[in-house]
Amino acid sequence: MLLYRHGGSQRSASPQGIRAEDLTHPDAYFAAHDGLDQLIALLRRFAIRATFAVPAVIAQLRSERLRDLLADGHEIAGNGLKHEDVSSLSAVDEKKRLDLATDILTRATGQCPTGWFCLPRQEDPFAGGTISPNTMDLLINAGYEYMGNGLADDVPHYWVTDFATRRALLTLPYYYHFDDQWFLLFPRRGTGLEHADDLFRNWRAEFNAQYKRGRQFNMVLHPGMVGWAHRLQLLEDFLAHAHAFPGVWNPCSAECARYWKATYPPGEYLRLEPSIWRDHAGSLS
């Protein structure tokens, strides 16, 4: 079983990524200070290690905070240059951004990130995160070990980019029902309602069900959102609930990825069948 958490520390962003107004807002200040402090303290209390998916701009801006996280044994992974939507970028442009983001994260932490996230933003039209047709290949070329948010399974799985050569990238599971940003004053402050209780019940129900199945639980937290009073209390209640179960393994994402690849290597476990999807007149091709 895996329990990890990650989250950017900027205010909820739009597809174009973090803008000046996202960083010059009381919520942004809260996310990087009180909110993050509260979250770190709570994780420490339950001895939980998490993966923080950090946009490069945040890594450069808050490098002292990253050092706090590393000192606590948390992992730092990438999450875009500015957590932007890369889906319409050219491969050349996307590669430039990926390389620069990797450099910035490496400089800020003293170590090269092995994981990359393409997490969704609150203003995205879908809650799964965005990638381009080139993203997975670029990540493999850049030496990344895993992509952190896939939706096709609820355990790690291989995202195949080329059938003939079995070229694949390990993908860790994500599901929006365990991501705080869709429940807390969504879609933005002053609209929607507060559904922190629904979020808590989702965490608990999935944890219990996956524990019974011997699989995996993951959640996505944003320090600026979950770090507030009642939400923090519900998170604490959930962690106390999960903590009481015996035999729960809590690796960070990179450890989970390493374990998976060693235990279920693609050469042995990736059983691909040729596509039988055919062309029919008057149908999707």
Binding site: P125, F126, G128, F183, R201, W277
Partner: protein, 301 residues
């Protein structure tokens, strides 16, 4: 002036009469079965129906890669868990599958058939073409594709296929809309081709509660929620229909309800339903054949 007023009044009267005419013609398309009772004294018939659109509908709607991945969960994981759930309760469900699902998840469909669940039509690729020749082509292709797995042609559909075409091709029922709590007959817009409908309500549909951006809904419209809340709502629906001696059609999607937390919720729901006597868990075909045999439509065409 008075003449103008009279003229206006008679014009308004005509508008009212026209509206009533349209509505009466519409009402005449429906035939209810108020005296419906179930075999062996059962108090309620429950249909579990799984709409197996998985990534195909996401593809048809031209949604981005992570949405396709979300749909893939249905074919890779979710459908298998639903089969396991229904089998563990000895329940035969109905899987409404688009024809092209056969080209995407053949192993899953084989497993559905192996467990004895009904496989029914859910359009060729989740879309009914406007052109009658292409519509017929899609319906026949789907029937042939599903027959290859089920060993027999589908007799039901969840679609807006023309009722005339469906009758011509030997379909026994459709499962769409909610004009009545109980199965009822519906005729097409011309008042012809009566067809049995096994109703389902959008509030008893997992996607409405759990699927982000369902049916093109925008972000401000999202109210995604947790399984406990849905359990309470669906139990209330079941209990009300149980007391009324009625019918409940529970619609799930493998990529939605196949998630572990919701399989667990459905398990609790079924377990609780089974504590009551007289609950008939059936396939749609079973319910349809019962209705057709005992409550045939009055053919007044």
């Amino acid at each position: 002036m008075q003449g103008d007023a009279r003229k206006m009044t008679s014009q308004l009267e005509q508008e009212i009469e026209d509206l009533c005419t349209v509505a009466r013609r519409y009402d005449a398309r429906y035939q209810r079965i108020p005296e419906l009772t179930w075999p062996h004294g059962a108090r309620i018939a429950v249909n579990f129906t799984a709409d197996f659109d998985a990534m195909l509908l996401r593809r048809l709607l031209n949604e981005p890669p992570m949405q396709l991945a979300k749909g893939e969960f249905g074919g890779l994981v979710g459908i298998w868990r639903l089969i396991e759930l229904f089998d563990s309760h000895g329940i035969k469900a109905t899987v409404f599958a688009p024809g092209r699902i056969c080209e995407l998840y053949p192993q899953a469909l084989r497993a559905v058939a192996r467990s004895g669940h009904e496989i029914a039509d859910h359009m060729w690729e989740h879309h009914v073409p406007k052109d009658p020749a292409l519509e017929r082509d899609h319906l026949l292709k789907t029937a042939a594709a599903l027959e290859a797995f089920a060993g027999r042609r589908p007799v039901g559909t969840r679609s807006s296929h023309s009722l005339g075409l469906l009758r011509q091709e030997g379909f026994l029922y459709v499962s769409e809309d909610s004009a009545d709590h109980r199965p009822y007959y519906v005729r097409d817009a011309a008042g012809a081709h009566p067809m049995l409908n096994l109703p389902f309500h959008y509030a008893i549909d997992d996607a409405m509660f759990y699927s982000f951006a369902w049916l093109g809904s925008g972000n401000a419209a999202q109210r995604i929620t947790d399984p406990d809340r849905v359990f309470d709502l669906w139990w209330a629906a079941f209990w009300q229909q149980y007391r009324a001696g009625g019918y409940l059609n529970i619609v799930v999607h493998p990529f939605v309800s196949g998630r572990a937390l919701r399989i667990e919720m459905m398990d609790r729901l079924i377990t609780r339903m089974k504590t009551l006597p007289g609950v008939w868990f059936a396939t749609c075909e079973d319910v349809a054949r019962h209705c057709l045999a005992h409550y045939p439509v009055t053919e007044a065409e």
